[in-house]
């Protein structure tokens, strides 16, 4: 995205954070630079989504630690409400960084180091760089292996399932009983049972709860 000098071409930001002080710091830091304008503030992910619906900003800056932070990023993506999502947070564990990156965020900024210069960091993101605060890069690497393994195992297990077993797995995820599954698929409960037995073997689990949990951890089904 090109950012012009004139206010008319300024990149418009919305900031979501639980603390007014942080929102204020972002506003001041951005507005000290030409071409960055904070058009809205919110104290939760859902409030931010409402503002984005109305104002259609270019950039959302939010704390992934907000109770609905992750859901908000998903919604921003699904509804294509903004061009760029930047995380600004205190969370420095690798799992949080990987989760954010999987959701396609363009920046992962840690408050303690990034806040004093947050405007300039956001500008770097707008200029096309994916900015990840140096102190979390190592933690992200540590978690990258687990993520790659999960992705690989997920696709291997997925490839081993028959189309029918995949259907049954989806229905288990929806919480249907065996009888309901039989009705939905137009087959006998006994047949459903046999599909489930094979499915459990392939997932290497013994119970329905384990099956759901394993399928979620392998990314085969999503629970929202």
């Amino acid at each position: 995205m090109m950012v012009g000098e004139e206010a008319a071409n300024a990149a418009r930001l919305v900031v979501a954070d639980a603390h007014p002080v942080v929102r204020r710091a972002v506003r001041l830091s951005c507005e000290a630079l030409p071409g960055l304008e904070v058009v809205g503030e919110a104290d939760s992910g859902s409030a931010m989504l409402a503002i984005c619906d109305e104002l259609r900003p270019d950039v959302a800056v939010l704390d992934i630690a907000l109770p609905d932070g992750i859901d908000a990023i998903r919604a921003l993506n699904d509804r294509q409400l903004v061009d760029i999502v930047v995380v600004l947070t205190d969370r420095t564990d690798g799992a949080s960084v990987i989760e954010a990156l999987r959701l396609g965020v363009e920046g992962y900024l840690v408050k303690s180091s990034a806040l004093p210069s947050v405007g300039r960091q956001i500008r770097r993101v707008l200029d096309g760089e994916r900015v990840i605060s140096p102190e979390v890069q190592r933690a992200a690497l540590g978690e990258l292996g687990a993520f790659a393994r999960m992705a690989r195992e997920g696709s291997e297990v997925r490839a081993s399932l028959t189309p029918r077993e995949r259907e049954v797995l989806m229905l288990i995820g929806e919480g249907l009983t065996m009888r309901q599954m039989a009705n939905r698929l137009g087959i006998s409960p006994r047949t459903v049972e046999s599909h489930m037995a094979k499915l459990y073997r392939k997932l290497d689990v013994r119970t329905r709860v384990q099956a759901v949990s394993r399928a979620v951890s392998l990314g085969l089904i999503e629970l929202h």
Binding site: I132, A140, A148, G154, S155
Partner: protein, 236 residues
């Protein structure tokens, strides 16, 4: 150097704790240079070298050691390319550390290597000390990513996520359609190629867009390309 056999040089049993490295790269000069660097260190040695995947499988089969690191040059091509080799080794030797090895590899190639089972990636451009340290860390079961630009982790994660989405969400047939679509064929041409009706292809394409959450064929192909499922020449 030249007196050593190209592959299968077995290590003596004198130092079982030493880290054993297996070098797989199509370029002899790269292997020779890397070997010099490794054999110069007291705590590690090169156990075998191979110039292609099949030689590598054979050489690794003769190695009786723990604490083994296999360096796989991503430049291996052909039917048994680097990714095939990594996947195969991962299945056969779950305890060997496997590292992708390349020069200025793009994040997509690195993602692909990790996705198929590599424990990390080492760039040929990094400092030799850092390179040797990466081998030791890999032998200690650490995930290693020794690349000039650490922030590329973002692109690498995205590449793996795309690959996962493409592989988990699409059926085999849909993937096949997407691969052919990436060649730039029309729906009619895809239908002819796959021996089905044009209508079937447009249905497949619509379903693919829905599953990948994209609005156009171009966006779907871009996603498949980021995932490493297809390689799109100049446009990427």
């Amino acid at each position: 150097m030249s007196k050593r056999p190209a592959a299968g040089h077995a290590a003596g049993p004198a130092s079982p704790r030493r880290l054993g490295v297996i070098l797989v790269d199509p370029f002899p000069v790269v292997r020779a240079g890397t070997r010099l660097l490794i054999d110069d260190r007291p705590d590690m040695e090169v156990l075998a070298e191979a110039g292609d995947a099949d030689q590598a499988i054979e050489a690794i089969g003769r190695v009786r050691r723990t604490r083994v690191v296999v360096l796989v040059g991503l430049g291996l091509t052909g039917e048994h390319d680097a990714y095939w080799l990594i996947r195969t080794l991962r299945q056969r030797y779950p305890t060997h550390a496997i590292l992708g090895f390349g020069a200025n590899a793009d994040p997509t190639s690195i993602s692909r290597a990790l996705f198929v089972g590599a424990d990390g990636f080492v760039d040929k451009n990094i400092d030799p000390v850092e390179f040797l340290q990466a081998l030791r860390r890999a032998a200690d079961r650490e995930m290693v990513l020794a690349i000039p630009i650490a922030s590329a982790v973002g692109e690498i994660v995205e590449g793996i996520e795309r690959r996962r989405e493409v592989e988990v969400k699409l059926t085999d047939r849909e993937r096949e359609v997407l691969v052919v679509a990436a060649e730039g064929l029309t729906a009619r041409q895809i239908a002819t190629r796959l021996g089905v009706r044009e209508r079937t292809i447009t249905t497949h394409l619509a379903r693919i867009y829905g599953k990948l959450g994209v609005g156009s064929r171009l966006a779907a192909i871009r996603m498949a390309s980021q995932s490493g499922l297809v390689s799109v020449g100049a446009s990427e």
